[in-house]
């Protein structure tokens, strides 16, 4: 049995240590927002956060996620950066088929959390691992910049 902390909640699952986190999320826990795209960390559709760092769940053994805070698309809206990214995606009508967008949003949220005002080069580096076949890249770039300019609505201490 493996115990994971996902989106702030503890989950215990019957999984072998080498089972990729992607299939634990999707097939054992029914959390389907994280997508299967390639299975070998080439497309980014399965991106989740481990302690805020974007990781490819399709190649991450579940044992490597134990003891870390896992965040998925289902809860990224609860973070200031994630909320801004989701809103920017809607404001700029980024999405087409949407299948890769969980991964895109997770990658973009991690970028903004780390670099609040990313340059084009920062965006290239953070997002070039995420494939979109609908070709939403120009809007993704604009939406990240748009999100970066959005004041955070999260409550801050004085």
């Amino acid at each position: 049995m493996v115990t994971l902390k996902i989106n702030g909640k503890s989950h215990t699952v019957d999984a072998s240590p080498e089972m990729p986190l992607l299939w634990v999320l999707r097939d054992l826990l029914g959390m389907n927002g994280t997508k299967f795209g390639c299975g070998v960390a080439l497309c980014g559709a399965c991106t989740v956060h481990l302690d805020g760092i974007p990781r490819r769940a399709c190649v991450m053994p579940v044992s490597a996620a134990v003891g870390h805070a896992i965040t998925t698309i289902e809860a990224i809206g609860a973070t200031p950066a994630g909320k801004k990214v989701q809103q920017a995606w809607l404001d700029l009508e980024v999405i087409q088929c949407g299948y890769c967008q969980s991964g895109q949003i997770m990658a973009a949220a991690a970028l903004l959390a780390k670099i609040p005002a990313p340059t084009d080069t920062d965006i290239d580096q953070a997002m070039s691992g995420n494939i979109c076949r609908c070709g939403t890249y120009p809007r993704i770039r604009e939406a990240i910049k748009h999100a970066a300019q959005t004041p955070s609505s999260a409550k801050r201490g004085a």
């Binding site: 999405i95 088929c97 969980s102 997002m127 076949r133």
Partner: protein, 720 residues
Amino acid sequence: MTMARVSRRQILTAGAATGGGLLLGWRLEAQARVLGAAAKAAPSVFAPNAFIRIGTDGRITLIMCQVEMGQGTYTSMPMLLAEELEVGLDQVRLEHAPPNDKLYANPLFGDQETGASTSVKVFYEPLRRAGATARTMLVAAAAATWKVDPASCRAQKGVVTHSSTGRTLTYGALADKAARLPMPAQVTLKAPKDFKLIGTPAKRLDTPAKVNGTAQYGIDVRLPGMKIATVAASPVVGGRVASLDDSKAKAIKGVRQIVRLDDLVAVVADHMWAAKQGLAALDIRWDDGPNATVSIADVVQGLATATQTSGVIARKEGDAAAAIAGAPAKMEAIYQVPFLAHAAMEPINCTVHVQPDRCEVWTGSQVLTRAQATAAKVTGLPLEKVIVHNHYLGGGFGRRLEHDYVTQAVRIAKQVQGPVKVIWTREEDIRHDVYRPYYYDRVAAGVDARGQPIAWMHRLAGPAILARYLPAAFRDGIDPDGLDGAVHLLYDIPAVQVEFVRHEEPVLNTGFWRGVGVTHNTFVIESFIDELAAAAKQDPIEYRRALLGKSPRARAVLDLVARAAGWGQPLPAGRGRGVSLLYSGWGSYLAQVAEVAVSKSGEVRVHRIVCAVDCGTVVNPDTVKAQVEGGIVFGISGALWGEVTLKNGRVQQSNFNDVRVLRINETPAIEVYLMTNGEAPGGIGEPGTAVTAPALANAVFAATGKRIRTLPLERHLRSA
């Protein structure tokens, strides 16, 4: 294309609807509860046609006959209905249509299909009429209630108001009465000047669920007791399982069953990880069959030989052969485009539950009735015992116009107790695609002393996809899809001949892509016209303009793109600009200018793409722009790198390591300019892709002086 037509009456006449249905984004458990409750409560519903349902509770449900695969139909179709129904997009709920050719046939094809960039084009009028019919009946119901003239009432935002007294009734309050009224003999559609929605950049209705992971794709189906399977089908078309040792696979924890069929082996497991491990542990020996030794060179040779003989004439004006023979100068060239995979982001999948008396299918399909029919055929059940639940599609691009994966999943599910979700690995998805065909084209032109073309001959060889897919559309030996664009040549040339040599290469399954005929014909035409311009030492845009005297809309997009792109203005050293023009059966005109730089090692960097678009009447301008932007990105991937090759009958590519697609850091600045006019709506899902390859090839020529006539560009540029 000319195809079977379905009468408007068939589209608009629907039986009385019952309540309930599958509402998007609802969980299956909830759906089951709703269905159960609906059956018991059986609320009174106003359903004047198959697209609109208004409950007495005020709930307005629009039924989506065209599927959503990213192209924005789940916004544009509601806009057409809502415009005439006089409701806001914020007031409606959407529902996937069930399979039903009688109610939901695409008028162009005669069955329920979402493809060929046709949704807005063919449903522009029928859906508005459906909305207007409902609105007319609701207004009539209000007028009858108040005993006033319907002309003295108006509908707005789901409410009918009696103008002089200010009395109001909501659509929900009127639903019961409206349902008892006869269908109006005729209804008046709004004049375009009165449109509130059509032509405005409406927010997409499908996106809120797509930013938070709740949107349900086929792959997200979960059912009680469901198993997960993954599959290895014969790596060679026509191959068979010769022998199988599954002992190691069966020993893997979570593996429940191995299904061996004639041409495939599937591992059924508790979860995908066990299924994948099980698949890797199988020891399968294949009998590769007749294609065991086929390589890509064999395919090319077969096509090259086929073009030695003349084909079926698809267009003829004057005597092109004689005119070329007698012309002061002659130019000829051979163009080739490769097999292409779709590589939609959602790998192919289909969930099936076969029971003795029924079969249920959950998937994402562009052709629901074909999915239903194949499941009925495989199970031997009558059609009405097959229930197909459609979902959002994680990309279609023509791949999900095929139902091969539904057939396969039902064959597997017949061997499994309970529901099973069959998921293809990405490798299986790439290697068992239904590929854009390889086409081989010969073109020739005779030019006069000034370099102007006086004759044009275009002979293309490839399979006739429609002969397989829609036989009624394959007439007189002509595949209208393969010839799309070629027969639409706009240039004013006195003698034109276009020929089709049907040549099937049954070594790979071939089908639709994001543009089939047009993707290759536009590449050939626009590259070759560029060659003629270069030989005549004329500016590529001026050369084209001079030949477009009879095509003002084409000339207008060309002029617009030239202005917007700064055509003729100096570029940094090493860069080149290329232009291309597109017109086809889609009915849209596009002109594009690409700016590229080519490195010493032959890498092509696309810096900027400018595209001018005239697709006639626009329903949702932001979606049109998005489709063109995305089409261009798809086109760049295909043109620079896309190809599927064969060795020993096997596809050599497997995943995104060798199916290279454009990434964000490689994406150029893309500018899209829409012309506005009142012409009939044209298709826009595919043209952006088709117009891109020739613009890039022409830009590469401008930058390097090298004319690349075979795609993909980069590989052939390196060997040029």
